[in-house]
Amino acid sequence: MDAIATQGLTKHYGSSRRWRAGSGRPGPIRALDDLTLAVHPGEIFGFLGPNGAGKSTAIRLLLGFIHPTAGRAEVLGLDVATAGAVLRGRIGYLPGGIALYDGLTGTQLLDYLAAFYARPPVLRGGLVEQLGLSARDLGRPIRDYSRGMRQKIGIVQALQHDPELAILDEPSEGLDPLMQRAFYAILDERKAAGRTVFFSSHVLSEVERVCDRVGIVRAGRLVALERVGELVARRRRHVEVRLSAPAPALTAAITALVGVSALEVREDRLAFGLDGDVTRLLHLLEGAPVADLTIEPARLEDAFLELYDETAP
């Protein structure tokens, strides 16, 4: 059983029945189109896309805040459309840009939100400690909290009852680098405990560091769904070879190498992009007059940007 399984999940806003081409009326907004994906139990899944790509729409569909135009979603084996409260009792959710009850203290808020669950908030103590929230902080009204403090409280409220699935929308927003590191450690612990984490982000370095697999959405459509390592390995690296002597044969061989693009040849320097495996390039360089070699590691960011470029209309 997958932690999350969607089949053709679609959400359009505005009536398509009333819309006519050339009528001057805006057509229906396709917030999410035919999303089919599966998130496996115990994995950390990153859901990527720029603002307006459909990430939050997908999350809101999974939580039952909005209803699909077409398709269906199962979370923890339960149909989102019918399971409702039973399902949300097994999930922890951190909304993007979380709004909290400003009149309550941190402790009052956590107590209030935890009281709805059958599970006790067994993880609260550890989370509070890891995120550096002191008893004094928790005793202050939330209206006095900084943005980072609010985000920390948001993370604690989402995870304190040890949910089977955590759905986190832009979770590290507002956290300083130290707290981001503490948050990544928390995610690692969740994974080690066999819990599933589904989180949306546009901080690609964070996703690359934390996630097992990613789904990338663009204009409401899923354009990639694979393991982070595989996605990155297939992407273009930037390679620069500095030569200690002219080597026209090497230049010709590199030009002919599959996956090489944008080759620039200067006096003692070759620069090019390389898609895929680097092993063939390393074989070519064996015995060549190479003074220096730089292969910039492929990053998820590059993969993301290339994917967006490839799928641009």
């Binding site: 909304p95 993007g96 709004a99 939100l113």
Partner: protein, 270 residues
């Protein structure tokens, strides 16, 4: 119903509720004091002929006066001061209960818990009815306390007082249910509050105009205030139909909210 949400709602409302209840008790207490102190003289003045028409008009509109203890009870309940205070607590609370949370962005934090939307609505409806019951009880409690302390409670029957309370709870419970239905139907507080106050103020205006201007009397049945008649109850002529009509409007408002709220899309707060 969710006990957790109910406790939180109570805690969030208790300060405002306390002030409103105190004000209503004080208002209610004041009226028998006026009646005991000046009632007979004012009654004689009203009947003297000089101001007879004006007093007649006033008592026809409000249905109350301070020339008798029954008129005093009715005045305490139907006077704009009492109605405004109860409206602030009951209608104001209900209109903001969901739309306000939605506008602040806290509704999605709440609905991410194992809490069905229907349960959320039912809990807020119970809180609305409780506030209506407490505020009406506060006015009547103040009136009865004043009447007993000043020795003018002799003509009051406990059954009539209870019926007046029930009629008041029915009126404001209905206005609260309409306000709550508006609250679950909008993403922003403005439209929900506009509808809630619109129904209340327009209903009150129609009753006001209809009672003073015979040509507009045909409008009165569309006002919820038409079915709030403490004067008739205290005169021993209560009409169960009033409660039935208010109950019908209440049921329609609750039915709408129970149908609409679970089906609504709650898009991301802007």
């Amino acid at each position: 119903m969710s006990a957790v949400l109910f406790r939180r709602t109570w805690a969030a409302q208790r300060v405002r509720l306390s002030f409103v209840l105190l004000a209503l008790v004080a208002w209610g207490f004041l009226l028998p004091v006026i009646y005991a102190t000046f009632g007979k003289e004012m009654g004689a003045l009203a009947r003297s002929g000089t101001f007879a028409n004006m007093f007649d008009l006033m008592s026809r509109f409000t249905g109350g006066d301070v020339f008798s203890i029954r008129g005093t009870v009715a005045l305490g309940l139907v006077h704009p001061i009492a109605l405004a205070l109860v409206t602030i607590q009951v209608v104001g609370f209900a209109a903001a209960a969901v739309a306000g949370e939605r506008q602040r962005g806290t509704l999605e934090v709440l609905l991410a818990r194992p809490l069905e939307r229907r349960v959320l609505h039912a809990t807020l409806l119970v809180a609305t009815l409780l506030f209506a019951a407490l505020t009406e009880a506060a006015v009547l409690g103040g009136i009865v306390a004043g009447a007993v302390l000043f020795g003018v409670a002799g003509d009051l029957a406990a059954g009539d007082i209870a019926l007046c309370w029930l009629n008041g709870v029915a009126l404001f419970g209905t206005l609260g249910a309409i306000s709550l239905a508006a609250s679950v139907s909008f993403d922003r507080l403005g439209p929900a509050l506009g509808i809630a106050l619109g129904v209340t103020l327009i209903g009150y205006t129609i009753e006001f105009v209809g009672t003073l201007w015979p040509d507009a009397a045909w409008l009165r049945p569309i006002s919820p205030f038409r079915y709030f008649q403490p004067t008739r109850i205290l005169a021993g002529a209560s009409e169960p139909a009033d409660l039935l009509v208010l109950g019908g409007i209440f049921a329609a408002a609750v039915g709408w909210a129970a149908w609409e709220f679970p089906r609504r899309d709650l898009a991301a707060p802007s």
